[in-house]
């Protein structure tokens, strides 16, 4: 049984159709990278998976639980789905360690000392144990994003969603975040990443999904996608990214 099953998901905002029948599955331990031009529903798709933006129609399962069923307790299910945001979305009035421990205390109901011990381990995982007592504003963008990852990891999720985790970062800070993501992938975390970091996609993705106008145009393994994309649109998009990032694909 796949970890996540997305079936014919549609979502509109007003008259603007953002997702127009998207389906895919992801097995435990798989990494999928979603690429595509802006405004094609990549971020919305992630928000459908954890029901922050519930789809208008279609179905989404996490293991055997149907998330799109109104009876499903989403507060419980969202603990199993970590999310990392483009602009970090750290709680700015809380120290880094408080950001990581908050969910453990408030949602999992752990006592403070256990929660902070666990939070400390997660901060270590992203290499930030010495910055635990700093406020988000005192950290660099890369460090903030790593706190964001630690915060999501603290809940021991089955699945991690990354919404353009490096696109708000200075080029020299991107590496440290990708390194953490790469380690996660190696440890067997199931991940769905919206990202245009092709180097990252090449090295860890099992599949690259190319989206446009709310559809999945093409989905295949990175080798095939980069060497011989089936769709003309995919080809030209990848070409543009290669030009932009100066990478030979």
């Amino acid at each position: 049984m796949p970890l996540v099953r997305v079936e014919d998901v549609k979502k509109s905002f007003g008259k603007n159709t953002v997702l127009d029948g998207v389906s895919f599955t992801i097995e435990k331990g798989e990494v999928k990278v979603i690429i595509g031009p802006s405004g094609t529903g990549k971020s919305t798709l992630l928000r459908c998976v954890n029901m922050l933006a519930p789809p208008d129609s279609g179905k989404i399962w996490l293991q055997e639980t149907e998330l799109t069923n109104p009876k499903t307790n989403m507060h419980q299910m969202r603990q199993k789905i970590g999310m990392v945001f483009q602009h970090f979305a750290l709680f700015k009035h809380l120290k880094a360690i408080d950001n990581v421990a908050l969910g453990l205390v408030k949602v999992k109901g752990m006592n403070r000392s256990d929660a902070y011990a666990k939070a400390k381990r997660d901060m270590q995982k992203v290499g930030l144990e010495e910055h635990a007592d700093k406020y988000p504003a005192q950290l660099s963008g890369g460090q903030q994003q790593r706190v964001g990852i630690a915060r999501a990891l603290a809940m021991d999720p089955l699945l991690m969603l990354f919404d353009e985790p490096t696109s708000a970062l200075d080029p020299e800070l991107i590496g440290e975040v990708l390194q953490v993501m790469q380690n996660l992938a190696k440890e067997g975390m199931t991940m769905i990443c919206v990202s245009h970091e092709m180097g990252f996609a090449k090295s860890v993705a099992n599949e690259i999904i190319f989206m446009e106008h709310g559809h999945i145009l093409e989905a295949s393994a990175p080798q095939k996608m980069f060497s011989n994309p089936e769709n003309e649109r995919t080809r030209s998009f990848l070409h543009k990214i290669a030009e932009l990032y100066g990478e030979s694909l």
Binding site: R47, I81, F91, H93, G103, V107, M155
Partner: protein, 224 residues
């Protein structure tokens, strides 16, 4: 000159009797304005579309009516339809309603500037909407609203002499009583001004102190 200073100093204690009532009026009006203002701000952001329209009209009305007119409507007008509030309550309602329209703007601005991602981040951890509002949005909104709130508080403080118009014995009323017997309007009104000025400073620095206690890096409220 010396006489005048002496006269002011000897009469300040009498005027001080009005300070307590002025502070009471201010605190109660601001508190009423805060409760209504927060309610209105939440409705305007999270309410249904018709609800948003209703609270917009509310803000529009109470920002557009001078406080004194509002105060007279409450104190002299409402009793004719059977709603009798005493002078103190009338002042608090009048100033509070007006303040609520302004405070709603302060809180709305604060909540909106926090952004939707903070709510999404809270929800994505499995927190409920209420938990996220209480643990994430509120603490940040308080910090962001403090400068505007301080401003609004001092404005209401300076509007509190309107209570004089419905016969409440506040600073200005005591001053007026003194003038009737002494015929020294300049000295007495100057003393009143001085008292309000000092009151303003006290509250200004009190809120600045409170703000500094809430200050964390990234939320530089006091601007220092």
């Amino acid at each position: 000159m010396f006489d005048s200073v002496l006269y002011i100093l000897t009469n300040v204690p009498l005027l001080m009797k009005g300070v307590l009532i002025a502070v009471e009026i201010t605190v109660c009006s601001v508190a009423l304005g805060m409760v209504l203002g927060i309610f209105v701000a939440f409705l305007k952001i999270y309410g249904s579309n018709p609800m948003k329209k209703v609270v917009s009209v509310y803000e529009w009305i109470f920002r557009g009516i001078p406080q004194l007119v509002l105060l007279f409507i409450v104190y002299f007008g409402l009793p004719t339809i059977g709603l009798n509030f005493g002078p103190f309550l009338s002042v608090v309602i009048g100033l509070g309603l007006c303040s609520s329209a302004y405070q709603a703007q302060i809180y709305r601005g604060a909540i909106l500037s926090i952004g939707t991602e903070q709510m999404e981040a809270g929800l994505s951890l499995g927190m409920s909407k209420f938990q996220t509002l209480f643990c994430i949005i509120l603490p940040q909104a308080v910090r962001l609203s403090l400068p505007g709130f301080t401003n609004e508080f001092t404005i209401v403080l300076k509007d509190s002499p309107l209570a004089y118009a419905v016969g409440i014995a506040e600073i200005l009323k005591y001053g007026r009583d003194l003038i009737v017997t002494s015929f020294k309007p300049f000295e007495i009104y100057f003393a009143c001004a001085l008292i309000y000025f000092v009151l303003f400073q006290i509250f200004f620095y009190l809120f600045k102190y409170i703000a500094s206690k809430f200050e964390v890096p990234g939320f530089l409220i006091t601007g220092q």
